[in-house]
């Protein structure tokens, strides 16, 4: 990386929020700081409308996968019903999808498991490639896309994928599982966890900030109605 690229990467980091932009420079007692929450400190709910990164076909396949990972049942709605596909789409279009925090200088070498992920691709690119490979595999085996398989076929395929049996990719399975859980359990501010369904599943009260009234009700069900950042944003 040359100097110019280095500076560009820093500018990108700054734009992605990895480096704050407020009050750069020299601070001292005779130079008062601005007071108050920065507008950019608050997350924004995803704008409704068209997909931001995924294609319609990709969104359809992700929907099928996510709804096997977190299905609809008496405990609550499915992942896609809860907004997890929209969540993922917006995440992939944003800093996360672009691997904004990741060290991306080469060389890329095969390491030991202890040395951790060495992905050359960004999460967004891994979805594009992973869905493409999965689609090809389903076409070869069943002459249908994943979304066209029966529930039992889908589960069997996901189990094979989770186990890492070639040509399916256990790393991509792990990414799917991590992201669908995020969507189901992150604040509804990010587009998933509709009606706080993920939080209701386990009894998590959400964005509450003071449990002192409950400290002495030890070992008892508290049945606290969850709270979202969305409630505060209005």
């Amino acid at each position: 990386m040359n100097r110019r690229e280095a500076l560009i990467s820093l500018v990108q980091l700054s734009a992605l929020g990895a480096i704050g932009s407020a009050s750069a420079g020299v601070l001292a007692s005779d130079r008062p700081l601005a007071i108050g929450t920065h507008a950019d400190a608050l997350p924004q709910p995803p704008k409704p409308g068209a997909l931001a990164y995924l294609t319609a076909a990709e969104a359809r396949e992700v929907t099928a996968i996510f709804d096997r990972l977190i299905p609809e049942d008496e405990l609550g709605m499915s992942a896609s019903q809860a907004g997890c596909v929209v969540f993922l789409d917006r995440q992939l279009a944003g800093p996360y999808g672009q691997a904004a925090s990741t060290y991306r200088l080469g060389p890329y070498l095969q390491g030991t498991p202890e040395q951790g992920p060495q992905f050359r691709l960004t999460p967004a690119q891994r979805y594009r490639e992973g869905l493409e490979q999965l689609g090809q595999y389903c076409q070869q085996q069943h002459a249908r896309p994943f979304s066209g398989l029966t529930g039992e076929q889908q589960d069997a395929l996901l189990r094979t994928m989770e186990a890492g049996a070639a040509p399916l990719d256990a790393d991509f399975f792990a990414l799917l599982l991590q992201n669908v859980r995020e969507g189901y359990l992150a604040d509804p501010m990010y587009g998933g966890n509709r009606d706080m369904v993920g939080w209701r599943l386990i009894g998590f009260p959400g964005a509450r900030y003071d449990y002192r009234p409950y400290l002495h009700r030890k070992g008892l069900p508290l049945d606290l109605e969850p709270v979202s950042l969305l409630d505060r944003a209005g």
Partner: protein
């Protein structure tokens, strides 16, 4: 174009706990202090009020409060025969990237080390003989004792507002605290937190087993408090957005809440934010430093000259900056000579994870360190004869995890990880899972060290630092011993399903769930310039006007979290600079 700033008395690199503490002491003593911080300005009201803080995805999952690997990372390998590879994605290394450093997002476990931890060599030899040390272990005394540090521990706790219950005051054991701790001059500034249900269960059973449970000292403070710098703090609300988060309540001890508000009011203090020190500049004869070179976020380079250079970044960054600046001889594992990069220690973790049959643990009510601990198997509090290791661990019932994304994978082995079965397993686990953590000592080994990586570079083309580390025989043995203790307690408290782990039984990886972020050593203090980079005042043997602060000074790690010892050492060094060094600049200890 290059900016040359007016000379200061002191330049401080990094404004975390160490940097802010020593900057405040020195500025108050009348010195002109300039601090240079790579991260941005952060304060409670603007950056992490409750409307911003309660967001697991943003802070704990996407880790917006940490230093991204993109900005600076490290290469790792388990032994010198491997090719080291960069840590590319988020790992257990949790460096801060803001004013406040890692002190903004820490869990706030606020320990003093045990007296043994400062003199592990002489006390081991005295009690057991040298044969207690496994081959290759680098165990050495710090050059400072617990008794010498006690007043500085006390002051740091006053500044931080620490909550807890003393176990030993003026040599007398008092009930309710840790009977194994070093003697304190007085009680904690604020009383202990209200324990969780899980904490209570642990207290009952460990008492029955004959152990000595006590509340873990916490920087999440239990009541309103005004610290000696005049800064006000509020009581903790047990919200559970603690580790990896800033605190919106002014309840968690942090540089931002406890020190920086006072520091910024000193007219002789200036702070450069979003500015990174590239290296320390040396004088023509190489025996002192003249200041530092830096680059700001716009790519503008500059120089800040100063009479004293204080290196106070995170442990890893301190070691790297010393290597990049060529101050002190780098350690060579082949010749065993050199001191920079020597004596790396980590934290040896063991766990028992247990699941109750039908509890309501309400895990969302927690703090970063809401825990009851026993120290019966820590430090040298038990007889190690015939055990083949030194050290041990603090064993605690930790209530610090209730956020759902992080808990979604906490399931008993064999439970479904997706599908309808996962929903049911997760629902049960969430209210019934508990952990017993053995947070163990770690001792350096001659084959484990830091140096500059020959392959991988940072954004400016400078080498990344390379970590060569795996657990040694002492770690493996102590970890196994502690794993058994954790498992025994898990059985006693009535876990229906128990899984226990000795992390040191596997190869080290920075990516293991629930592993420690505590990295130590590399620029250690000591009594001998051949085995330590710093003297007992954290003053560089190789350049007397360079002081290096932080866990990089630790020759070994205790069975505790490091922060309060880091803070006490910063105050200890500040006093030495003010009372001795300023009057007569030169080595404070003759080599």
């Amino acid at each position: 174009m290059k900016t040359t700033r007016a000379k200061a008395d002191v330049v401080v690199i990094g404004l975390g706990w160490s940097g802010s503490i020593i900057a405040e002491e020195l500025a108050r003593a009348g010195l002109k202090v300039v601090a240079i911080e790579r991260g941005a300005w952060r304060d409670t009201a603007s950056d992490f009020p409750p409307s911003v803080d309660t967001d697991e995805l943003r802070w704990a999952t996407r880790k917006e409060i940490l230093q991204a690997p993109r900005l600076e990372t490290y290469t790792v390998r388990n032994h010198a025969g491997q090719q080291a590879l960069p840590v590319r994605e988020w790992s257990n290394l949790t460096l801060g990237n803001n004013v406040g450093g890692a002190g903004t997002h820490w869990a706030a476990a606020s320990w003093r080390f045990n007296p043994f931890d400062f003199e592990p060599y002489s006390r081991t030899v005295e009690r057991y003989g040298k044969q207690q040390l496994v081959p290759g272990l680098q165990v050495q005394d710090w050059g400072v004792t617990y008794a010498e540090l006690e007043p500085f521990y006390d002051r740091f706790e006053r500044i931080a507002g620490t909550s807890g219950k003393a176990g030993v005051i003026e040599g007398q054991v008092v009930s309710g605290g840790n009977p194994f701790e070093g003697s304190r001059s007085r009680e904690f500034p604020t009383p202990p937190l209200v324990p969780s249900h899980w904490n209570d269960i642990f207290t009952r059973k460990t008492t029955e087993l004959g152990y000595h449970p006590f509340p873990v000292p916490a920087g999440t403070i239990s009541q309103a408090y005004v610290n000696p710098l005049g800064v006000r703090m509020g009581p903790c609300t047990y919200c559970g957005y603690c580790q990896m988060f800033g605190c919106g309540n002014w309840s968690k001890s942090s540089p931002n809440a406890c020190v920086v508000p006072a520091l910024m009011r000193h007219p002789s203090f200036e702070l450069l934010t979003e500015t990174e020190v590239l290296h320390i500049n040396k004088s023509a004869d190489g025996k002192t430093a003249t200041g530092v070179s830096y680059i700001d976020k716009h790519g503008m380079q500059g120089e800040q000259s100063a009479d004293i250079v204080i290196v106070a970044a995170y442990q890893l960054d301190n070691v790297r900056l010393m290597l990049l600046s060529g101050i002190g001889e780098p350690y060579s594992p082949r010749t065993r000579r050199g001191v920079i990069g020597r004596n790396y220690s980590f934290q040896t973790l063991s766990y028992a994870y247990l699941w109750f049959e039908q509890e309501h643990l309400n895990p969302f009510i927690n703090t970063g360190c809401l825990a009851i601990q026993i120290d019966d198997f820590n430090a040298d509090n038990f007889d190690h004869s015939g055990l083949g290791f030194i050290g041990g661990a603090g064993i605690q019932s930790l209530s610090n995890s209730g956020l759902p994304i992080g808990m979604a994978g906490v399931l008993p082995k064999g439970a479904p990880t997706w599908g309808k079965g996962w929903k049911q397993a997760f629902r049960h686990s969430y209210q019934n899972w508990a952990m017993i953590q053995g947070q163990g000592t770690s001792y350096a080994h001659e084959d484990m060290y830091f140096d500059l990586d020959p392959t991988y570079k940072d954004n400016y083309g400078r080498p990344l630092m390379r970590m060569t580390f795996d657990y040694n025989l002492n770690d493996q043995r102590s970890g196994e011993f502690i794993r058994k203790q954790c498992e025994r307690i898990a059985q006693a408290v009535g876990g229906q399903h128990i899984e226990s782990y000795n992390f040191a039984a596997d190869h080290y990886t920075p990516f293991r769930a629930n592993d420690s972020s505590h990295t130590n050593g590399g620029v250690v203090m000591g009594t001998d310039p051949r085995t330590s980079a710093l003297n007992r005042y954290q003053q560089c043997w190789a350049a007397h006007n360079v002081f290096v602060l932080g866990a990089s000074s630790f020759p070994n790690n205790a069975g505790y979290n490091p922060t309060v010892t880091i803070g006490a050492l910063a105050l200890w060094t500040a006093k030495a600079i003010i009372e001795q060094y300023i009057k007569n600049p030169g080595p404070l200890v003759q080599a």
